[in-house]
Symmetry: C2
Subunit: 273 residues, 2 copies
């Protein structure tokens, strides 16, 4: 079972679009996928056509101890489950400020939930994907502590690497102090303006940056910059307004092709490629 | 003298690109423009080819009382001044948490600075533009309290209006409690994907939303949705990597045309159009 947190504290770089569409792509390929919406904006929840809040239990109730995963998750499609978010989650940062172990609440509940499913011949889920808000606060920390891997979506624009330093520093601290297995396993290039020199140059800088980490004892020494880039495609921006993944909304679009190819690349172990 | 805060707590919607390019457009049209970078990411500062930090005084020193405007500003071009940012500003949120009047520090220093220039026959500046970070914390509050007007850049995507509620609520509170003259004078549609139905639909929703406020006693009862939209144009994303405005980097591009037209629309009073 792979537990992947999708993280970048920079806003609007494709975290939610990536979580939804690789989640649905993997589910359509027959894998059992749990999606967790850790953002009070609840865009992941809305993107799947689900109601944030509205009497539903979700990540807020999980983090504040009033629900288990079994209670908080809902079916979102074939092979697909969701723990949704709500605006209440905005209060979590403040509510949890002096709670002991406030960064590992999600991890412990998830361990209980998947541990509970362990007597079957296969794990409860093949993939757990955690969509994080554009910040490095307690919500994202819960994502980092509950995950085994991090994917970083990047928009290949000038300054894409600027915020990376702070993010990697945070990941380093979590790896050192709380979650020793945590690795940055992938970088996803999103909103890629094909054919522009800017995109090409930034990708080159990103490859160089991660290439230099190869022989160092760092959680990003083996990060894959996925070969599949997600091209800018208006269909990807339209799909959420219909509460659909790209595969339901526009299955023949470049957006669908790119995310399907990315999901396949994610599922294949690096050595196979 | 118009003091305009450029605000949207959503990340990556065009705040900095708009501040730089309308600032430079107005300066090129002969107006005296002061730009203030209130974002610890210092993108405005970098976009103008200036060094964030690096021994320069800037907004951090202003807000923590160790510099005046006269000391902290630097010339950034013809008719153009800048108070730059630095990573130190990230600490301001914490450092100012219990400082009395922490939201009006910028306002008071700006009043002193422009007041000091008042014995000339024309004001120190024609425009003061304040670029705010993607949050509604003490930095953005300083922008809101120092300004007379707010421009809201919006990317016309699904959920563009979602964050607006929280932003307008904050503006309302500032207007009620601290800055009674504060108005939302404009909405700038940025990163507009021309020819797509999504952009058209969202703009329609935005117009409807602000139209409904017309007869109410609200700080956004007279908000102009600028007719000029800023189309998506890769040149606008490339310019900052050269430390240039769009007018120096690609003067014949759509990006330059759109921002020049927007600056003209901003400068013309609504009744004239
Ligand atoms: N490849 C793409 N082409 C066109 N539009 C896209 C693409 N990817 C995402 N978008 C759109 O861009 C906007 C930002 O994307 P998204 O919400 O996935 O980013 P995010 O990193 O999750 O943002 P936030 O920081 O607010 O959580 C959304 O309106 C989305 O629909
Ligand atoms: N019209 C446009 N066409 C293409 N790219 C654009 C356009 N406007 C802005 N960009 C690019 O999109 C990215 C986000 O823009 P910008 O930095 O201005 O947004 P912002 O709201 O200031 O972001 P933040 O919330 O991080 O401060 C930048 O890389 C910028 O160069
Ligand atoms: Mg998101
Ligand atoms: Mg900015």
């Amino acid at each position: 079972m792979r537990r992947i947190a999708i993280i970048n504290q920079k806003g609007g770089v494709g975290k939610t679009t990536t979580t939804v569409n690789i989640g649905v792509a993997l589910a359509r390929a027959g894998h059992r996928v749990l999606l967790i919406d850790l953002d009070p904006q609840a865009h992941l929840t809305l993107h799947l056509g689900q109601d944030p809040g509205a009497g539903q239990l979700g990540t807020y109730e999980l983090l504040t101890g009033s629900a288990s995963f079994a209670k908080a998750r809902r079916k979102a499609g074939q092979n697909l489950w969701l723990v949704g978010s709500s605006i209440d989650l905005a209060g979590a940062e403040v509510e949890l400020v002096s709670v002991v172990g406030r960064e590992v609440i999600l991890r412990d509940l998830l361990d209980q939930h998947v541990g509970a499913g362990r007597d079957h011949h296969r794990p409860q889920y093949d993939y757990v994907l955690i969509d994080c808000p554009p910040s490095l606060g307690v919500l994202t920390l819960n994502g980092l502590c509950a995950a085994g891997e991090v994917f970083i979506p990047l928009q290949p624009h000038y300054l894409a690497l600027q915020g990376l330093g702070k993010l990697l520093e945070t990941i380093s601290l979590v790896n050192k102090r709380i979650n020793p297995g945590l690795l940055v396993s992938g970088v996803v290039l999103c909103m890629y303006d094909a054919g522009t020199k800017l995109a090409g140059e930034v990708v080159q800088d990103v490859r160089t940056f991660f290439g230099e980490a190869k022989d160092q004892d760092l959680p990003w020494r083996a990060t894959r910059i996925f070969d599949t880039v997600i091209r800018r495609n208006i269909k990807l921006a339209e799909a959420p307004s219909y509460g659909q993944s790209i595969f339901d909304y526009a299955p023949d679009s470049n957006g669908a092709k790119d995310y399907a190819r990315l999901a396949a690349e994610i599922h294949a172990p690096p050595a196979v490629l």
